[in-house]
């Protein structure tokens, strides 16, 4: 076991990573609760946004904030467009079908990104936020503002989204739709509009997560596209509906992943962390009752 000093920097980076996972997880949960769609293209739209931002900043010489804004706008626009186009068409299908359909979007975006921003040739891209340079030290550990923002965004979003779903009219409508779309529609809730709002919110979160992950992890289409699987683990622990549990699981995944890094025997296996946590959680939960994904299956 390495000395404690070696772990300290990884606590900070782990919390930051966990914060972004929480951010992604909350975005996924909100959309799932409102529309029943598990948005597997979450990572892909974030990656697309980040790559567009990179092109704007390094190629077109745009100022940084234009790029970051473009990242969020692109991710939100793609998500919103998909939601408008395929949301209603698949609304009555099984959650599994809806999730697999977003795999279609993932593949389209992934292929397009690989085509437009070719990764072969080994030239690594990077997207650095100005908050990387500033920072402060806690004890002996250097903390960048980006890491603070990452964790902060996760925490703030979790609190704000929970409050939003709990106390606002739109949030109540989303929760009602999670229970039963048909009855909610009968009660006079503009179902399509509420769904559109959820898609837009999810897209904005995807853009923010893409921007932060591009900085914290790597600006690479493959990595970012499939990083969604890691936040998916947290969402699964939260059974696709609980925001606080998703947040806690996301922090745990991020923290554990980074804390395993200095342990020589386990460092190669640290990427398994989200999968192991998700599998254990799913199996423990399913011991007592069968998890039901939709009313028809019950």
């Amino acid at each position: 076991m390495p000395p404690w000093d070696n772990f300290e920097p990884f606590i900070v980076s782990g919390l930051a990573l966990g914060g972004v996972y929480a951010l992604s997880g909350v975005g996924l949960v909100v959309l799932y609760r409102a529309t029943g769609v598990l948005y597997l293209a979450f990572g892909a739209v974030g990656a697309l946004g980040a790559l567009v931002a990179w092109s704007l900043i390094t190629r077109a010489g745009a100022p940084g904030w234009v790029g970051w804004l473009a990242c969020i706008v692109v991710a939100a626009a793609v998500t919103f467009g998909y939601g408008l186009l395929f949301g209603p068409a698949l609304a009555k299908r099984d959650p599994l079908v809806k999730a697999v359909a977003t795999i279609g979007l993932t593949l389209i975006l992934y292929g397009a990104m690989d085509l437009l921003w070719t990764t072969s040739g080994g030239q690594a891209r990077s997207l650095t936020l100005p908050t990387d340079n500033g920072g402060f030290t806690v004890g002996t550990v250097q903390v960048t503002w980006t890491q603070v923002i990452a964790l902060g965004a996760g925490v703030v979003l979790t609190v704000v989204t929970s409050a939003f779903l709990r106390y606002t009219k739109l949030g109540t409508a989303m929760r009602a739709m999670a229970n039963d779309r048909e009855i909610t529609a009968t009660l006079g809730v503009p179902v399509r509009r509420v769904e559109a709002a959820a898609w837009l919110g999810c897209g904005v979160l995807a853009g923010v997560a893409g921007l932060l992950l591009a900085d914290l992890v790597a600006l690479d289409a493959t990595t970012l596209t499939f990083l969604v699987i890691s936040s998916l683990a947290a969402v699964l622990v939260g059974q696709l509906r609980s925001i606080p549990v998703t947040f806690a699981a996301a922090i745990l995944v991020g923290l554990l992943h980074d804390l395993l890094t200095p342990i020589v025997a386990l460092t190669n296996y640290r990427d398994m962390t989200p999968f192991v946590i998700a599998v254990i959680a799913l199996l423990v939960m399913s011991r007592h009752r069968v998890i039901v994904t939709s009313r028809e299956e019950a």
């Binding site: 598990l38 099984d94 697999v100 593949l107 085509l115 699964l236 398994m272 199996l283 399913s286 994904t293």
Partner: protein, 360 residues
């Protein structure tokens, strides 16, 4: 076990009422069998003569992935279980086959059988707890498990002739290739070998679909509750489907090991399982031909595009569009849609001609 009894009963009945029970194959059926036979013979004997070695190797891959696709097709189309981790299962099969091939001198078909059985055990062990979940959760847990297996394989590495249980030696300068059966050492011969194995696997699937398990699966797919009420042991048959799919995928992994000679964990990225599901859905999951179409989409088209100098990324985009199209308008995939659309076109054309005829 119920097979002989069933046949005996049928035979007695047949004697009592020969007209009703002796099912003569109908004409369309005969035509279908004929086409199948011609296609199989063509694939076995004519194709390797017609194609360059590049495409022979590609077609070997097509044979391998047609097995993977037919296994996934059984899970998705017959039982309604979506697995997002089939590439990890393929990797387990390839790993066990490679380890056995380096460790023993057993004949290749025996090794394939063993690799299939090992993978089957692994699949059942994974499936046993996973089957408590259903639908979306099952798909996601297979994705998670596949992610975990991929990480383990990346660390453990594939056997390369080293010693010990794992059979990997990182400091080996000369890595021996994974051997092939002595009768199928060359590429065309190995291609024929893999086609024959693929045919056997398709026959195995067909034998399941036409008999009791197939009917049980059909009932489970329609409604698990109704199947349970009808006295079907749903857990057993779901597990059976998992076992069958893992076995076939494991055998495919064994064939793959000999086909490419050297195995690396980067050959089996977890995200390929997602693409695989996409092409299997595109090909069509309710029809065995769909698996062949899926394998052609997955392995032949990339080679073709590569030969033409077109980026394979266009294919990924095409697969994405295909998934969306299958899910929204054509649930049975290309295998069903293309003939239907052609028939409709022919119908429309002939109707137009028919309308015009009396006027002229």
């Amino acid at each position: 076990m119920s097979e002989p009894k069933g046949r005996g009963a049928a035979a007695t009945l047949e004697r009592a009422n020969p007209v009703r029970l002796r099912r003569r194959p109908t004409r369309p059926q005969l035509v279908k069998w004929g086409i199948t036979a011609v296609l199989v013979l063509f694939a076995l004997f004519a194709l390797p003569q017609l194609m360059s070695l590049y495409y022979v190797d590609t077609m070997t891959q097509v044979a391998v992935y047609s097995m993977v696709a037919v296994a996934l097709g059984v899970l998705v189309g017959r039982v309604g279980l979506v697995s997002l981790g089939q590439v990890a299962v393929l990797a387990i099969g390839a790993w066990s086959a490679a380890r056995l091939l380096f460790a023993t001198t057993q004949p290749y078909p025996l090794i394939l059988l063993e690799a299939g059985l090992i993978t089957m055990v692994a699949g059942v062990l994974i499936g046993l707890p996973a089957l408590r979940l259903r639908g979306l959760y099952l798909a996601l847990i297979t994705l998670m498990l596949a992610g975990g297996i991929t990480v383990v394989l990346a660390t453990v590495n594939f056997p390369n002739g080293g010693h010990g249980f794992l059979g990997y030696n990182g400091s080996l300068l000369h890595i021996p290739p994974i051997r092939r059966p002595s009768i199928a050492a060359g590429d065309p011969a190995y291609y024929r070998f893999s086609v024959i194995i693929a045919i056997l696997m398709f026959a195995l699937v067909l034998a399941h679909i036409k008999t009791k398990p197939g009917r049980a699966w059909a009932a489970i797919r329609q409604s698990e509750a109704a199947a349970l009420a009808a006295g079907i042991n749903t857990t057993l048959y779901k597990l059976w489907a998992f076992a069958l799919a893992s076995f076939i995928t494991g055998v495919a992994g064994g064939v793959l090991a000999g086909a490419i000679h050297y195995l690396y964990s980067i050959n089996f990225p977890a995200q390929d399982s997602i693409t695989l599901l996409a092409v299997v859905l595109m090909g069509g999951v309710y029809n065995l031909w769909g698996a062949g179409v899926a394998a052609l989409l997955y392995q032949f088209l990339p080679s073709l595009l590569n030969n033409w100098g077109v980026s394979a990324d266009w294919l990924v985009i095409l697969f994405g569009v295909g998934v969306l199209q299958v899910l929204t308008t054509a649930p049975a995939g290309l295998v069903d849609q293309v003939p239907r659309d052609l028939a409709r076109l022919r119908h429309r054309l002939s109707r137009r001609r028919g309308k015009r005829a009396p006027h002229d």
